[in-house]
């Protein structure tokens, strides 16, 4: 099926098996391996990307659904070689250990802060409730998101 979509501001017009998942389109067709597969059933959030402004699990989005949509992945956060403030804060606050949840965690946080620029602790926790981390206990992640928000 011919699909027109935008990833990280770049336009794509590709003929892809429409039954593939968006995750597969990103990782295999577009060679963007920053988005990870942790569970394949929308529970861990490692595959989170932003589609038309909303955080979604790319392992649950069928390729046909991305037609006409704008998608932002972790690779799209860096602008002109500069990290997004969220990325900087994740690094600064030690919110990254093994890094496997990081892409999804940052994208969920990005979607949250876009919609709610000054979230309180409860709102941040809710914003990342669909993102599991096994290394950290979420403490530094919360601090990073908080810091990125009040700094805005």
């Amino acid at each position: 099926m011919k699909l027109n979509f935008v990833v990280n501001t770049k336009k794509y017009n590709l003929d892809i098996n429409p039954a593939l998942r968006l995750l597969d389109v990103l990782r295999d067709h577009l060679n963007m391996t920053g988005t990870k597969e942790g569970c394949g059933e929308g529970e861990c959030g490692a595959c989170t990307v932003i589609m038309n402004g909303k955080a979604v699990n790319s392992c649950l989005v069928m390729a046909s659904q991305i037609n006409g949509k704008e998608i932002q992945t972790i690779e799209g956060l860096r602008k002109n070689g500069e990290m997004d403030l969220l990325q900087e804060k994740f690094v600064e606050h030690g919110a990254i250990q093994c890094g496997f949840c990081t892409s999804g965690m940052i994208m969920s946080s990005k979607a949250l802060l876009t919609e709610n620029p000054s979230p309180d602790d409860e709102a941040i926790k809710q914003g990342i409730e669909g993102n599991l981390c096994r290394c950290s206990g979420y403490v530094q992640i919360l601090n990073a998101v908080k810091d990125a928000s009040s700094a805005k």
Partner: protein, 748 residues
């Protein structure tokens, strides 16, 4: 004069934090090659059966399928996934692809195909007929006289005993004694990166395996031996680790993928799904423990006997070794003059048990801390006083192995932690108020620092200086995503007094790295870190030797500062490290390079006291952990922020272990937890703010006095939470996890 540390004790992000934040770090599952093929495994859907027939013909006809392997066309040779050092004696009971399935999730066939989609389709076209056998999902069933043998030789694999004094006899004669039966469940490591590996095949017969592992050397040894390859022709490279917690310590995918690569002479990527990772790799060992202790009226425990049953699951792997390791940990935290431990390791038709954070310590500590809490309660003593009567003191001797526990500061962990947690105040609030009940619980745990006293425990490292004054530390280490590399950078930078960015640390690559025993037994900071320290000292000495030639002065009259060597009394007379290196090459025809093989010399205890406050909804049985403090005797925190982060991660894992996580099977052996929707990890809303108290008393052999923390971080958590729940409800629940169903059943 005590020098103030420039790097040690500071907080740094993990060495590749920026790369990871940008989504650019490469994990094994991201690796590709132009001619690669994809492998998928077909797993058994029955728990115990002989394979009567297996028909792969339909699958083979599918376009894009390259080859399919089953027991019929793969070696019958057996292996043990837990093998990690040369000369290790282990019973080998596992085949690549089995002809007798022993649990739902056992490997039945391997498919190599041109795409993952084709491989997955082919899996469904394979037809298998099973001759089913009776299933034993519990150790009780497995040990029953009529229990069907899972392997030849019966379901009782081994019985191990550890003994100090005359515990059994003393308890039999004692008047004041207490008995508890505690159990912990089978759990999943839950690393966010599922199991994966990538193999490059190089004609005529060489291979490189890229894998997130805990010992590249173990992978090399097991694979090379199984396939009959020279170690020098099989390269194993440790890739960026997306979390392991023991789950990737065994050699499983690497062996299968290497076999498939060799047979098809192709590059192979083998990715396990989350379900595959939960069921078909290794799990955290379930244990049943019966503990009985005799105490005097002052609360001094003078004898304890423990009978344990270790559920190995379907294959031996490490279970007998773990049964011993768990028992040994009983001797580490409390000073009990008579202690006997007996453990039976048993096969069951359930997922295989293997390495898991703490290696028996979470289980045995949960058992003992619930037992201790029960004794304190029955004696009318408070939790802290009772423990203080029995905990080890600094430099006590570990009674079983007769070696020193080093500067053991569990008492301070307990008393200072209690104060920081406001323990007494919180205890006053214990009990039910209307629908909700509040409770506070604590637990003490101890862990090891390496294998000393057990098996070989050494690391080798090479440190060299480049011609610009930067350094390369070549190690056989495996950063698990916890900052090992960063901590080594700090150590080298501190000893050599150079900018931390001037230090590059290489991880395990069996063709290029010197040998390291691996990331096990909490040895990395204590042993490998000490190696890094020692090799840095050696290199510093070489730098001074070279400078001595340059200055034509004895070394004693020189000092090092900020990457330069200068003459004492004449600081303007100096030379930069880089120039020294260049001079060393051109003039002295010498390289500034040092090799150190460091062998562990001690095994002190690392200790922690954890405190949990919970609120239990007595109507729904849901437990909320509302406050948490972890008080750790770390010796010295090399990277302070990372130490805190590791502790908090351990608490996340432990809370799940205590309340929500379990790999369950039904009576027929069908798994009921197959993905995160049915195996619940603690998410951000349910995680309390974990406070840490880092106590640094030094006094042992680690670099700058550092001791371990990563495994210890989970050890006391389960019991702290369970003790808190029991405190809230006035119950004595002893079987983890404390699910809402169990809590409601106990209340009503």
């Amino acid at each position: 004069m005590i020098k103030k540390n420039r790097y040690i004790g500071r907080t740094y992000p993990i060495q590749d934090a920026v790369t990871k934040a940008c989504g650019e770090q490469i994990y094994a599952g991201d690796m590709k090659s132009p001619r690669m093929l994809y492998a998928k495994i077909l797993f058994s859907t029955v728990a115990h059966a002989h394979i009567r027939s297996i028909d792969t013909s339909k699958a083979e006809k599918l376009e894009g399928v390259v080859k399919i392997f089953t027991h019929a066309n793969s070696p019958a040779k057996k292996f043990n996934s837990y093998h990690f050092f040369a000369g290790q004696e282990l019973k080998e009971d596992e085949r690549l692809f089995t002809d007798k399935v022993r649990f739902v999730g056992d490997r039945v066939a391997g498919i190599v195909a041109e795409t993952e989609v084709v491989a997955e389709k082919a899996l469904k076209l394979i037809e298998i007929e099973y001759d089913e056998l009776p299933v034993a999902v519990s150790t009780t069933q497995a040990l029953h006289d009529d229990g069907e043998c899972i392997h030849e030789g019966g379901n009782l694999i081994d019985t191990k005993e550890l003994n100090v004094g005359q515990a059994t006899e003393i308890i039999a004669k004692s008047f004041l004694k207490f008995k508890d039966t505690i159990s912990t469940q089978k759990v999943h490591h839950g690393a966010m990166e599922p199991h994966v590996c990538f193999v490059r095949y190089e004609m005529p017969d060489e291979m490189s395996i890229y894998t997130p592992c805990q010992s590249a050397f173990a992978v090399r040894n097991v694979v090379a031996q199984f396939l009959g390859m020279n170690y020098c022709s099989l390269r194993v490279v440790k890739t960026t680790m997306g979390g392991s917690f023991g789950g990737k310590q065994h050699v499983i995918l690497e062996l299968i993928a290497a076999f498939l690569a060799k047979e098809t002479r192709s590059d192979i990527r083998l990715c396990y799904s989350r379900t595959d990772s939960i069921l078909s790799t290794i799990t955290g060992t379930a244990m049943e423990m019966e503990m009985e202790s005799a105490v005097d009226e002052n609360g001094k425990i003078f004898a304890t006997q423990v009978n344990a049953i270790v559920d190995a699951g379907s294959y031996l792997a490490n279970s007998v070794d773990l049964s011993i390791a768990a028992g040994k940990k009983l001797f580490r935290t409390y000073d009990i003059p008579n202690l006997s431990y007996k453990a039976k390791t048993v096969y069951t038709n359930t997922p295989t048990a293997g390495g898991f954070r703490g290696w028996g310590a979470p289980q045995i500590t949960t058992g003992f801390e619930l037992h201790v809490e029960n004794m304190a309660r029955k004696l009318g003593m408070d939790s802290i006083s009772f423990r203080l009567k029995n905990l080890v003191k600094p430099y006590d001797e570990e009674r079983l192995g007769r070696f020193s526990l080093g500067n053991a500061r569990i008492r301070e962990c307990l008393t200072l932690g209690a104060e920081a947690f406001n323990w007494s105040e919180k205890k006053k609030k214990s009990g039910k108020k209307g629908r909700y009940a509040r409770g506070a619980g604590l637990a003490c745990g101890g862990h090891v620092n390496g294998f000393y006293g057990k098996i070989q425990d050494c690391s080798s490292m090479i440190l060299k200086m480049n011609e610009d004054g930067s350094f390369i530390l070549n190690t056989g280490s495996h950063d698990q995503g916890c900052g090992t590399v960063r901590s080594f950078m700090q150590i080298v930078a501190e000893v050599l007094d150079v900018d931390i960015d001037m230090v590059k640390v290489l991880e395990a690559d069996t063709q290029r790295s010197p040998y390291d025993t691996g990331t096990f037994a909490s040895r990395v900071t204590y042993v490998s870190g000490k190696c890094a320290y020692n090799v840095s000292l050696k290199l510093r000495d070489q730098i001074l030797e070279t400078a001595a030639k340059y200055f034509n002065r004895p070394k004693t009259y020189m000092a090092i500062k900020g990457g330069r060597v200068y003459l004492k009394g004449d600081p303007e007379n100096q030379i930069g490290f880089g120039r020294l290196a260049a001079l060393s090459q051109s003039v002295y025809e010498n390289e500034i390079i040092a090799l150190e093989t460091y062998s562990n010399v001690s095994n002190p205890g690392a200790y922690a006291a954890h405190f949990a406050e919970v609120e239990v909804d007595t109507q729904t049985g849901l437990v909320r952990v509302v406050d948490y403090l972890a008080s750790h005797d770390v010796g010295k925190a090399i990277n302070r922020g990372m130490v805190e982060a590791q502790i908090q991660g351990g608490v996340q894992m432990g809370i799940g272990y205590a309340l929500t996580e379990e790999i369950k099977t039904d009576a027929a052996g069908n798994p009921k937890s197959t993905n995160f929707s049915s195996y619940h990890l603690i998410n951000a809303p349910d995680m309390p703010d974990v406070k840490t108290l880092i106590l640094e008393f030094g006094g042992d052999d680690g670099p700058f006095g550092a001791k371990s923390v990563g495994e210890l971080a989970i050890v006391p958590v389960i019991a702290a939470v369970m003790n808190a729940v029991n405190d809230a409800l006035g119950t004595h629940l002893c079987h983890a996890p404390l699910t809402p169903e169990k809590i409601i059943a106990a209340i009503h």
